[in-house]
């Protein structure tokens, strides 16, 4: 900034003196302050000028205000107030009116929900007005050249010519909105033509894509289109609307391939929840539901809350007071985590656990409870699969038709299975009914999935919980056992002593927790990202239910095992036969049969889903499914057909920093994205994803929305509809307006008006039509009228209660109180799975396995000697090191043998578990560049940037145990390199002299933190990663900031990021075709894969790393970081600090 701007600090000081009417300089003292020779008797009377007081008192004055919803992916969706002066938002504040939210029956929310807002909600205007906004549409120069050259089919040479393989080094050019839409439409048409038909398939096979992926396309080039509405629930219309655009691409397919509506295909809808690793993937295995989560105000009813890898203090900021209320009401808090975490400070006791051994802990607790008869036998018999008989020969549940001659099921068509849950004859035929040993008749008895709770009692059946029997099947004697009996065998491997060795928790502490669970009621277990981000989260999730199944802590206030990582709950807009299509009516309305009547009821919308869900995990795995060439069977496909991905050639995502948050991000940039022909992202800010895209489309922020948007949450009962209150600051558009713009351009290009008809009411400025249809046809909102809601009839304007059965909403309330079946094949909670995949992988029982990478023992080993666990190892040797071989290799060993095994990475010096939890100062990557948050988020926040090495006014940091650091010669505050398995990270094929390797290798500041165990280090999730441009800026700018030239992207790292160390893992148990469970957004059941429901859950924590010193922490890269020399930091305490820590200042 030059002086020609006319303003400097010196000028400022001078002008103040002039404006103040002069000053009273003291003789002999320099003129830099007032001389005070004596005290004023009355300072106020002596002040020369008091106008400043008016300014001071006036600073919070506003001339207008409006209500908006802060809707990041944190599950809260807080309605807030914005206060404006002259049309500019000057501050943001909470809205204290939650007690006014009502449903159609007059139920109202408790005022105790007030207030709801956190520091992110208070600083959002700093995002909106800040310097990092995406201000106008931009296109990558190389991509535009490719388009202007006529979209030639991309050979490797052309990909280099147009910089598809060097996106991070290309430049962006400004482009008008209409030109943007036109280019994108032509891009879609070109890509679909290139990859359609037999010629397209041949081209893809030639590029190296597996035949399974190409076959999955069905020769539709449009199947290479991938769309992702970034956590779509955060804006059902604008974000999820991208899937409606995708569905319309079937029109393009119909035109290009000349097929009818029955064969026309749109692209693939990319998942969100599972992609984030936020789902608890074990939940569908236990109860059939995507996720169990209660409203947060249910926490006050618990008497024992167990936070297992869950941080309700930092990650549920606005609603963490509910668990504090549990404490205030005399409840007990237990925290299970490797580190002494923020919630540990609130806990009655903390169990420091070895990472990823939670399943073993709960198995040990379960064994102790069974051994000591600490279980509710009636509940176990009525609601769990423990009394069901299992064949010991093939490990399948015994089916009634196998042992009862001429068996005819008495499952009623008017019972809950058919009438409420949407069970079908076809599904019943495939699954059959089940068998118990009836103690009343001393013989076998068939039970259906409706025979749960009191219903089985009314049938006069008294199921045996224990016993081994012999039955005749096809003339042969077959041994069967109750599952409970089998579990007693299974749990022999999990005595307290063994579990103590596996987990690192003292046996008496495990027993203490077991006794607490058995004697305190109600008990709730909360698992979060700390659990869900590990490869074997499935087993940890399943195991958490076992003690609750034994004690009946399900379906009642204050009880259950829940998780709320990510606002995923599209099921809040669930459809049903009695209400209509709900959410599906919006995202998957039949594009060939659109309802263009603005007065049509939501129930009249016809659904025609021509897209298919897909996990981004496949793109994140080299754009590949899980296929392994095994010694025993040769080519083996582990990805189920219901999950099978297609090649990725066009990628469009909105409201998500997809690449920044991608595991193995630098591999994506280097090895995967170069093969994608068009990447489009819509965002409000300049992100790393924009830097590596072909188009950056500026979207309006929540306070700039020009029409209505709707959201809700998985952790509270509030329906929220809102629009912005200020004009867009830049040349940005609402999300839906962007999507409609693309659709309109498609219509112009193809001549098919149905493209634009998909967004007819958006084009006409009547977005509310779509919202009313959604309200009409969803089970939780049917009956609401948009006009009433906006008039404030059910709460604040735009607010109301979702219509739940109970407030707070309690998962499985109907199952326990109304004897409805759980959403599983048996209708019961499952401690066992008999689907072929689970048996083959050795996970038919709930079991502890070591991680595929994050372990010191044999990767992926199953800890068991149970004869009823019979995994297939596919002949893969124990010393196989490839990530996919480790993924699928199933070897069973008892703990005494596991202890003697080794992980080759551990032996090579990769001896730190890298924990990457979410921070309180951002939501995923949002708020990463807000100056205050950058400073708050790390010990290296410094607005003055004394150390010019820092990338900005803050810098990301790595928490490390001081003793571990010292053993490596690392001082507090030093820069270190964090490296993972060199075979594939930071990207496949890297070489140390490759300039890109310097960009991609993680360099970060260390901070001593004694709260962490010796072998566990922590780097918070999703700061803004270093890119090629930010590194160049850091190395060439005079001030050293990592602020990209040309894009204005501000990184939080100097080099690399936490994603330098992570990779994607294709967990086989997440990819079955057989798991029977509830569909996520309709009252029906499905087998196998569904995005965000039963699909690959990414596991960023499955990472072992090494840490080596890179630079001294002191100024200029010399010596020790100054702060670490003050005597006030860990392991360098001076006498004063020691006195403080010893409580020496307390008198």
């Amino acid at each position: 900034m030059s002086k020609s701007n006319g303003f400097s600090r010196r000028d400022f000081l001078k002008s103040c003196l002039v404006a103040g009417g002069g000053t009273v300089a003291a003789p002999g003292v320099k003129l830099w302050a007032f001389d005070v020779a004596e005290e004023f008797a009355n300072p106020l009377a002596a002040y020369p000028e008091r106008d400043w007081e008016k300014i001071y008192r006036d600073q919070y004055r506003y001339d207008d205000s409006f209500s908006w919803v802060c809707s990041p992916n944190d599950t809260h969706a807080c309605r807030c107030m914005a206060y404006t002066r002259n049309g500019v938002v000057t501050r943001l504040g909470s809205q204290y009116d939650y007690e006014t939210y009502a449903d159609l029956y007059g139920n109202k929310a408790t005022p105790n929900w007030n207030p709801r807002q956190c520091a992110k909600g208070y600083t959002f205007h700093r995002v909106v007005y800040g310097p990092y906004r995406l201000k106008y549409p931009i296109v990558r120069q190389g991509w535009k050249q490719w388009a202007d050259d006529g979209y030639p089919s991309l050979t490797d040479e052309l990909r280099t010519k147009y910089k598809f393989d060097a996106r991070g080094q290309d430049t962006f050019v400004k482009i008008a909105w209409e030109d943007t839409f036109r280019y994108i439409a032509k891009g879609y048409q070109s890509i679909a033509k290139t990859y359609s038909g037999a010629e397209g398939a041949k081209r893809l096979l030639g590029q190296g894509y597996p035949k399974e992926m190409v076959d999955e396309m069905g020769e539709a080039g449009t199947r290479t289109f991938k769309f992702r509405g970034g956590m779509g629930l955060l804006g059902v219309i604008g974000k999820y609307g991208i899937y409606r655009l995708n569905n319309s691409m079937a029109l393009l397919d119909a035109q290009i391939r000349g097929v009818g509506p029955d064969q026309a295909r749109g692209g693939r809808n990319w998942a969100n929840y599972t992609w984030h690793g936020d789902q608890a993937p074990g939940h569908p295995w236990v109860h059939g539901l995507q996720t169990s989560d209660c409203d947060f105000n249910d926490l006050r009813f618990s008497k024992l809350i167990i936070m297992d890898g869950k941080n309700l203090v930092e990650n549920k900021l606005t609603d963490s007071h509910w668990f504090i209320e549990c404490m205030e009401r005399g409840g007990k808090i237990v925290v299970i985590s490797p580190e002494y975490s923020p919630p540990s400070t609130k806990a009655d006791y903390w169990l420091s656990i070895r990472p990823q051994t939670d399943a073993a802990l709960f198995l040990g607790i379960t064994r102790f409870m069974i051994d000591n008869k600490m279980y509710d036998e009636k509940f176990v018999k009525g609601f769990t699969d423990f009394p069901l008989l299992v064949r010991t020969d093939n490990l399948k549940r015994l089916r009634a038709a196998e042992v009862i001659p001429g068996y005819k099921s008495d499952l009623s068509k008017t019972g809950p299975s058919y009438k409420i849950q949407g069970f079908t004859d076809e599904q019943h035929e495939k699954l059959g009914d089940y068998v118990v040993w009836d103690q009343a008749s001393n013989g076998l008895k068939a039970i259906t999935r409706d025979d749960v709770g009191e219903k089985i009692t009314k049938k006069g059946i008294k199921p045996a919980l224990e016993g081994k029997f012999t039955v005749k099947i096809a003339g042969q004697d077959v041994e069967v056992m109750t599952l409970f009996e089998m579990y007693k065998v299974h749990l022999e491997d999990y005595d307290l002593g063994t579990v103590s060795e596996i987990t690192g928790i003292a046996a008496d502490q495990i027993e203490r927790l077991a006794r607490d669970i058995a004697t305190i009621e109600p008990v709730a277990i909360h698992q979060g990202e700390g659990i869900n981000h590990w490869f074997h989260a499935t087993e940890s999730n399943r195991a958490s239910y076992l003690p609750l199944m034994l004690t009946g802590n399900i379906g009642k206030k204050g009880a259950g095992s829940h998780t709320w990582a990510g606002n995923y709950k599209a099921a809040n807009f669930q459809g049903s036969p009695w209400t209509g299509p709900g959410f599906k009516g919006w995202v998957a309305e039949d594009t060939f049969n659109l309802n263009l009547d603005e007065n049509a009821h939501g129930k009249d919308i016809k659904v025609g889903a021509r897209c298919k869900g897909e996990e981004p995990a496949y793109w994140n795995h080299g754009d590949r499914p899980l296929i392994v060439e095994t010694p025993k069977y040769g080519h083996k496909v582990f990805t189920g057909q219901t999950h099978m991905p297609t090649p990725t050639k066009a990628l469009f995502f909105n409201n998500v920093n997809l690449f920044n948050n991608a595991k193995h991000a630098y591999d994506m940039f280097k090895n995967v994205n170069p093969k994608i022909d068009m990447i489009i992202t819509a965002d409000i800010q300049m992100t790393a994803s924009v830097e590596y895209a072909d188009f950056g489309l500026p979207a309006n922020s929540w306070i700039e929305f020009e029409d209505l948007e709707i959201t809700s949450s998985c952790s509270n009962p509030f329906l929220q509809i809102w629009k912005g209150g200020i004009k867009p600051v830049f040349d940005s558009k609402d999300d839906l307006a962007i999507l409609a713009g693309v659709a309109n351009a498609m219509a112009d290009l193809t001549g098919d008006k149905r493209f634009s008809d998909n967004f007819k009411f958006e084009n006409e400025g009547k977005r509310g039509v779509y919202i009313q249809r959604l309200l009409d046809s969803s089970t939780t909102t049917a009956g609401y009228k948009l006009d009433d809601l906006m008039a404030g009839k059910h709460g604040p304007p735009g607010g109301a209660l979702l219509q739940y059965r109970t407030y707070p909403r309690i998962p499985f309330w109907e199952q326990i109180n109304e004897d409805e079946p759980f959403h599983t094949d048996t209708g019961r909670m499952h401690a066992y799975s008999d689907i072929p995949e689970a048996i083959e992988y050795g996970e038919n029982f709930i079991i502890h396995r070591e991680g595929t990478e994050a372990t010191q023992f044999l990767p992926n080993v199953i800890v068991s000697s149970n004869p009823y666990v019979r995994p297939d190892d596919y002949g893969i040797p124990r010393d196989a090191e490839h990530w996919d071989e480790r993924t699928v290799r199933n070897i069973k060993l008892p703990w005494k043998d596991v202890k003697g095994t080794k992980n080759f990475l551990w032996e090579d010096g990769y001896r730190f578990y890298l924990l990457t939890p979410k921070t309180r100062h951002r939501v995923h990557s949002q708020w990463s560049t807000v100056d205050w948050h950058m400073m708050f988020d790390s010990n290296f926040g410094d607005p003055y940037r004394i150390d010019k090495r820092t990338p900005g006014v803050g810098e990301h940091q790595l928490h490390i145990n001081p003793e571990a650091a010292r053993d490596l010669g690392i001082n507090d505050g030093d820069y270190v390199y964090v490296d993972a398995n060199p075979a594939d990270r930071p990207y496949r094929g890297h070489k140390p002299d490759d300039p890109y390797y310097k960009v991609a290798r993680c360099m970060v500041r260390t901070i001593y933190n004694p709260a962490y165990p010796y072998n566990a280090i922590m780097m918070k999730h999703a700061p803004y990663i270093a890119t090629e441009r930010s590194v160049k800026a850091h190395e060439t700018r005079k001030d050293g900031r990592a602020l990209s030239e040309g894009t204005g992207y501000q990184a939080n790292f100097r080099y690399g990021s936490h994603q330098s160390c992570t990779r994607n893992w294709h967990m086989p148990m997440h990819q079955t075709d057989s798991l029977f469970h509830k569909s996520k957004v309709y009252m029906k059941f499905i087998f196998g894969g569904e995005a965000d429901n039963h699909a690959v859950n990414t596991v960023p924590k499955e990472t072992l790393v090494s840490v080596t010193k890179a630079e001294d922490g002191g100024l200029g890269g010399k010596g020790i970081w100054a702060t670490a020399t003050t005597g006030k930091t860990p392991r360098a305490e001076d006498d004063t600090m020691k006195r403080y820590l010893d409580g020496g200042f307390i008198t």
């Binding site: 830099w32 001389d35 003055y944 100054a1122």
Partner: protein
């Protein structure tokens, strides 16, 4: 309006704007502001010097690094001279209200 780029003249601007630095005197002026601000709150000479020398106070510490101990000591001495009544009154208050000496708010180094 400041919607396009940060505008140093706009008091409504939401983002910190760098004040131009033309010569070394700017750093001294800033240091003088720090010294005066805290002296007026009653901090004594020792406390002020500790603030400047402590890495926890990054702004004053930056001045300490750039100007050196001698210059900062001179600034502190002048501030103490100017605001002596405030410092004395603070000391008296501490004596009246507490028998326990706790050297806060400056963290001892």
């Amino acid at each position: 309006m400041p919607y396009r780029e940060p505008d140093p003249e706009d008091p409504m601007q939401r983002v910190g704007v760098t004040i131009p630095v033309e010569d070394d005197s700017s750093c001294r002026e800033m240091a003088e502001c720090f010294a005066e601000e805290y002296a007026r709150q009653g901090w004594n000479r020792r406390q002020l010097l500790e603030m400047f020398s402590s890495a926890f106070y990054s702004g004053p510490h930056l001045a300490w690094l750039q100007l050196g101990e001698e210059a900062v000591t001179e600034i502190v001495d002048q501030a103490v001279q100017m605001w002596k009544p405030m410092i004395d009154r603070q000391s008296e208050n501490e004596k009246r209200t507490s028998n326990t000496i706790i050297d806060l708010p400056v963290i001892q180094t």
